[in-house]
Symmetry: C2
Subunit: 345 residues, 2 copies
């Protein structure tokens, strides 16, 4: 499987991207990477590496780079030869199966949408992010692609998330929860109350409303919400985890015994970090487009890039967006049949 990697994307590009690509090719026999970006800079990095599979790491030149602070519309209109655009184009042309970028996430998303287009039947593609729970992980969808949503959008998010979880983790009936502020059926805001009704009759394993306090216990495999809520949950969690570690450290400093204790606990803390680390999940797919697109964190490490390439490979292998279109077509068929029955009666 060939994956186009936006080699200029991310805070530490192109270094971490080249390293991540080398790691992925070394670890996974079925991955090839096309590094897209400033070919001179990329070849310089590659030429310093003694041993790597030259068949499976290639370079494609792109003359421009999208900065992290650029406006999305400007980048879309003016930078037709940016590394992210060329990487996405590679997928469009069929020269690569998937694209990965740790660059400007808004631009990555917009470019993927514009060039690859929505998958058949999908109204609003959505970002799906894996987050850790005490037992394992849950999928949060939408994590920020759509800030204002209609009930039907969230129904599609639920279908896409369920299909993803099934395809990637082999869980036959993923438990789908609707993010709300009370477990009871009647709790929520106008939007979630409407969504609740739709999810109840959808062909998924809907377990009802789920509250913020329960998402990390692993009650649901897939948590559905609009992109404003999802992005807030994602960022609040990131901020809180960092704050907790800072507060713990502040309490430790000045306490000699605690310092020693912290040193002794280091392996446990490392293990904990491995469970919660962004690097492990690699990146978040934009689901519901014609092609596989993984959006990485701007702060990605080489390990995060390696894992993003792994996820891209997995999703392209199962052909996730075809699966999703199939699910949505089935849903539409059910709705049409029900309407027909009502019309006939």
């Amino acid at each position: 499987m060939k994956i186009a990697l936006d080699a200029m994307g991310g805070d530490n590009a192109p270094g971490i991207n080249v390293e991540g690509a080398l790691m992925a090719v070394e670890e996974y026999g079925d991955i090839s990477v096309e590094l897209v970006g400033d070919s001179e800079a990329l070849w310089k990095r590659l030429s310093a590496v003694r041993n790597y599979d030259k068949q499976r790491i290639t370079v494609k030149h792109a003359s421009e780079v999208v900065g992290m602070d650029e406006s999305t519309s400007h980048a879309l209109r003016k930078k037709k030869d940016s590394s992210i655009r060329v990487a996405v184009d590679t997928v469009k042309k069929g020269a690569a199966e998937a694209v990965v970028s740790a660059g400007h996430s808004g631009v990555t998303m917009a470019t993927a949408l514009t060039v690859l287009k929505k998958a058949p039947g999908v109204d609003r593609p959505a970002i799906a992010v894996l987050m850790p729970t005490v037992k394992g992980r849950f999928l949060l969808i939408d994590a920020g692609a759509n800030v204002d949503c209609k009930p039907e959008n969230l129904l599609q998010f639920a279908l896409m998330g369920s299909a993803y979880y099934k395809a990637v983790f082999g869980v036959t009936e993923p438990k789908v929860g609707l993010m709300s502020i009370g477990e009871e059926d009647t709790k929520g805001n106008e939007l979630t109350k409407e969504v609740f009704k739709l999810l109840k009759t959808a062909n998924i394993n809907f377990i009802g409303n789920i509250e913020g306090k329960d998402v990390f216990t692993g009650l649901a495999d897939v948590v559905v919400c609009d992109g404003f809520i999802g992005n807030t949950i994602l960022k609040v969690s990131e901020g809180l985890a960092e704050a907790i570690m800072k507060m713990l450290k502040a309490e430790i400093s000045g306490r000699v015994a605690s310092k020693l204790g912290y040193l002794l606990m280091k392996p446990a803390i490392k293990g904990f970090k491995r469970r919660t680390d962004y690097d492990e999940s690699g990146g978040a797919p934009l689901l519901g487009i014609n092609g596989t697109c993984i959006i990485g964190h701007g702060r990605s490490t080489s390990k995060a890039i390696k894992n993003a390439l792994k996820v891209a490979n997995q999703l392209a292998t199962v052909n996730i967006n075809k699966v999703i279109s199939g699910e949505i077509a089935m849903l539409q068929k059910n709705i049409d049949e029900r309407e027909q029955e009502i019309a006939d009666s």
Copy 2:
């Protein structure tokens, strides 16, 4: 200052309520508590206490109790002699200055609203919750009273939160941030974009949008959002903090050195818990009604009750709702004057 305490409210009532009241009276010379609930049960508990100021702890009988799972409308209509209702009535009659309940929070809120009514000029009373930051704390408003909001509601939340922070912490110009999913002025959903414009011209120290990752760094003193978002942030934070501690413990178990490390770190962990503990903040006020009402957590300990009584005393002393009405009247005056100017020109 006399405070009516719903002695039957909370998971461990009435025990923790009686204990909390005794602690508050002992610690704060200016607090008296009226315990409201099953007088027989309450007197039984009190009679077992050797020494307490009998002038400052009194009992008022209420024959009914609202269960944690009861529907709000049922409790409001049918349980006119519930401990929470009688406690709120006490404030209405002027026999107490404030009311505290760790019982059914929906019923507490609805009862306070129905009996005490909205403060002049306030459209939607809101719940304000203090949350810890690396440096200190921030106030989250609305934390769950209003799930669907208009832009004007959030403007009032900002004014109420700012007034509260000023009055309780003596900060002259609290920094007010608008919860959004990007720092830039133009980021957000339809609601927050409208609110942004209103806050820019309001008479508060508005610092712009604030993202989830920054709320715990102490960037803002007051964070404004609708009640659905606020409640989600509150519960996700609660859930994540618990999950992090569980995951750390799971990593520690099985590692002998880490276990020893954990023991050595205990004082630091205790210090950390003190900073983040719900017990410390006591409870959350419902701002914007005629009277002071503090909503405690169902899982309140006696210490949480003591602190809730302290907060009730503080807010009643500064007459927070009069302050709020004053701020809102001033805002309305400014709006009217501006409209008059436009009409005149």
